[in-house]
């Protein structure tokens, strides 16, 4: 769930007709002079995703320009929950007569947003509401038929509102509803909503959470990664998001959970499939005393290329003691595509660590064969299991291998990489990859495994070498599904003439070549 800053939220409210305080956004101390000239002595608020800012010293009331500058410098130095404070809001001070609470929320399972209003607002709103239930009303909203102001008046009266405030509040709440619906807010809260001494209803604060799935319709939100991470995105998370954003096939979640750890601490690279199966797998690792460096979920039938990119990203985390993957155990998707993606990543990186995967489900026999046999010359010990081996047994095997690895005095082997130049024939893929063939090798290949294993059947043999049986444009539009057979199967069972290069934007080039 993506959150918006207070100033962004207030801007949306103002666009919807709501009254907000006069304000200026401050990004550096250089903005102080203009701000003080326009607003006078006001209130300075750090723009951060946290509640209880006042207690953290992030809401200040400067008495002079000099004081304003001091507060600005002080706030812009700070980090809150890992996020650097990058902007501040400087607003006019409001003379408050009365405080209320107003919000829109999507309660779980309800097919309509709910308007919540309390005639008592301010901090500790949950307690206020349970103590004074009569001060609250709830109203389910049909976004196609937003109520009119008069419909809210009886509800407001029941919460104890009377007089002129009835009129002001009822129309303000309509603006609130419209703003929430227009921006597809999962939650929009104003606390406090204030009635000023001169009789205006103004939003003194504003918290908006928008629907991640709808962010694509709202470029104006300026959201970098439409996902709840709980911390500012790391470099690796940004790289992973680019992979996900540029490839709609299947889902790839990647969140780093540990950022600094040493070898031997028992922190593993984790590669799950499916939310429920991933949770179950992480629980199993936890039972053996391991932590995961990251959460990763590749599911919903992603292509082999996406699995490959995910594996590269997971394995680029320094100091992991192992690479563990498992889903629920019985996947509907064909597991050998996943196996190929993992093999390609392992062959390119050739890491020194144990690898345990549980690739249960369709095509698991083939998946196990690919993952174990095609990596037997690598530095890593690789074990792969199917649906009849429990995730706990797999976690146990990982534990055993890590302990073995500690005892082993391993000499690092370098391996033959399939890095023949693509000289003779190549075409692009849908994610800016390149498939290429070295015909000098292909011509002597009896297997032509690239053709028989090609998922979409787009290769055929001509003059004893593979060529496309569709146009290169069609291949680049997605007919080439990046199943990786032309490289991974070719290396194991063919003559090593096929190759697919799949850039992972942002990962160091030396890792790839």
């Amino acid at each position: 769930m993506s959150k918006l800053f207070e100033y962004q939220g207030k801007k949306l409210l103002a666009e919807g007709g709501f009254k907000i305080p006069r304000s200026i956004i401050i990004k550096s101390v250089n903005d102080a002079d203009t701000a003080f000239k326009e607003i006078g002595t006001g209130v300075l608020k750090a723009q951060v995703f946290t509640t209880g800012r006042a207690a953290l010293g992030l809401v200040k009331f400067p008495e002079s320009l000099e004081e304003l500058k001091i507060f600005i410098k002080d706030m812009l130095k700070q980090r809150i929950n890992g996020y650097k404070i990058e902007s501040l809001l400087y607003e006019e001070k409001l003379s408050i007569k009365q405080e209320f609470f107003a919000g829109i929320t999507l309660a779980s399972g309800k097919s309509a947003p709910t308007l919540v209003f309390s005639s008592k607002g301010g901090s500790g709103i949950e307690d206020i509401v349970s103590k004074y239930p009569d001060s609250v009303f709830y109203l389910d909203i049909n976004p196609d038929q937003i109520p009119l102001a008069f419909e809210l008046i009886p509800l407001l009266k029941e919460t104890g509102i009377s007089g002129k405030a009835l009129n002001l509040l009822s129309s303000s709440l309509i603006y609130l509803i419209k703003t929430a619906v227009k921006n597809e807010a999962k939650s929009l809260e104003i606390n406090p909503l204030v009635l000023t001494d001169n009789g205006k209803i103004i939003a003194a604060d504003c918290h908006i959470t928008v629907d991640d799935y709808a962010v694509f319709r709202h470029p104006e939100f300026d959201i970098e990664i439409a996902r709840e991470l709980g911390h500012p995105p790391t470099e690796l998370e940004k790289i992973a998001w680019t992979v996900e954003k540029d490839d709609y096939r299947g889902t790839f979640y990647f969140i780093q959970l540990e950022d600094s750890f040493d070898c031997g601490e028992g922190v593993l690279g984790f590669h799950g499939a499916g939310g429920g199966g991933s949770m179950m797998s992480m629980d199993a690792l936890q039972k053996f005393g391991y932590r995961v460096a990251n959460f990763c979920d590749t599911s919903g039938n992603p292509p082999a290329s996406k699995i490959y990119r995910a594996a590269k990203i997971i394995l680029s985390q320094k100091n992991i003691d192992g690479y563990f993957g498992s889903g629920s155990g019985v996947a509907s998707q064909e597991q050998f595509y996943s196996a190929r993606g993992i093999v390609k990543a392992l062959r390119e990186i050739n890491p020194v660590l144990p690898v345990v995967f549980r690739l249960g489900g369709n095509g698991e026999e083939k998946a196990i064969k690919i993952l174990e046999n095609y990596t037997s010359d690598l530095n890593c010990t690789v074990r792969c299991y199917g649906k009849d081996t429990s995730v706990t047994e797999c976690a146990g095997e990982m534990d055993r291998l890590i302990n073995e690895e500690k005892l082993a005095k391993r000499s690092i082997r370098s391996i033959k990489m399939n890095r023949n130049p693509i000289s003779d024939y190549s075409f692009k893929t849908v994610t800016n990859g390149t498939v290429g063939f070295n015909y000098a090798l292909c011509i002597n290949c009896n297997s032509k495994i690239c053709i028989s294993e090609c998922q979409s059947g787009i290769l055929e043999e001509k003059n004893s070498v593979p060529v496309l049986n569709i146009t290169k444009e069609e291949a680049a539009k997605g007919r080439c599904t990046e199943c990786l057979a032309c490289e991974v199967e070719c290396l194991a069972l063919g003559n090593g003439g096929g190759r697919i290069d799949l850039p992972v934007t942002g990962l160091e080039e030396e890792d790839i070549l």
């Binding site: 769930m1 609470f101 919000g103 929320t105 999507l106 309660a107 779980s108 399972g109 097919s111 309509a112 947003p113 709910t114 919540v116 709103i125 949950e126 509401v129 709830y138 976004p143 196609d144 619906v181 597809e184 999962k186 939650s187 809260e189 606390n191 918290h207 959470t209 629907d211 991640d212 799935y213 709808a214 319709r217 709609y248 096939r249 889902t251 499916g274 939310g275 429920g276 199966g277 949770m279 179950m280 992480m282 629980d283 599911s299 919903g300 039938n301 889903g327 629920s328 155990g329 019985v330 996947a331 509907s332 064909e334 249960g360 489900g361 369709n362 649906k387 429990s390 706990t392 997605g478």
Partner: protein
Amino acid sequence: MSILLEKNKKVLIQGITGREGRARTKLMLDIGTKVVAGVTPGQGGVEVLGVPVYDTVTEAVIINGSIDVTVVFVPAPLVKNAVIEAFASGIKLAVIVPDRVPVYDVMAISRAAEKYGAWFTGPNTLGIMSPGIGILGMIGGNAASVRKWFKSGPVGITSRSGGLTTSTAYYLNKAGIGQSTIVHVGGDSLIGLPHPEIVKLFQEDEDTKLIVLLGEIGGSQEEEVAELLASGKVTKPIVAYVGGRGAKEGTQFSHAGAIIEGNRGTYQGKVDSLRAAGAVVVDDISEIAGEVKKILDKLRIPYVR
């Protein structure tokens, strides 16, 4: 009998010409689901795996007679339009497979469903399977596996996790126990037929003798099932598992959300309310088959049909 998917229901595939639509149509045809038509606007006139493709749902209905179910594979931003089109053409059940459908779109689908007297499962669902009858969606992946892995029997499964849906059914079958219907209700916070609705359908279905409930932290679906059980509206035995025990506490709910939801949604809250209502709750998914067996034995219900 079974729920939601019975013999001879006529099925439409929306988005049949896409990568997923094509692959899953093959699965459904191979397993015997009666797929009569597909729709992809702009591609009317072609055939996919022998299934005729139309530009609109209305055309598909005019030519093939009324259609019972649509299985939707169109990209997430187009789902709302596709499903409402299907409801407006008289289709009463939609299985919405895609992930990442905007929640305001799901709410609009929900209002349309109410208007047209229709139902939907998902979004973000693997679908529905009634072993021996057919599949709506993609459970099982390919027909050969499905025939090998799943048998018809007395257990109804309702699950919030796609992966656990299939694996739990598989492990039950390995223990010799078949299923009436398997439903992945969908992974999103707002879905068409959540656990309590599916459980009510299982209660009415005479072939379902026991219900396996695979829950997760968050939301209130499991608590609502507990209420159905406690109030006597559901009397069939329930074996439940709740995922996410180890997940970090402290998900940031909004104030307004917290005011409405109270303590619903926690692992312990769900487990406690289910147990208090008489459900058997297991700690580990691998214990499900054993608990199911115990109950079936006690009630002298055969494992398969």
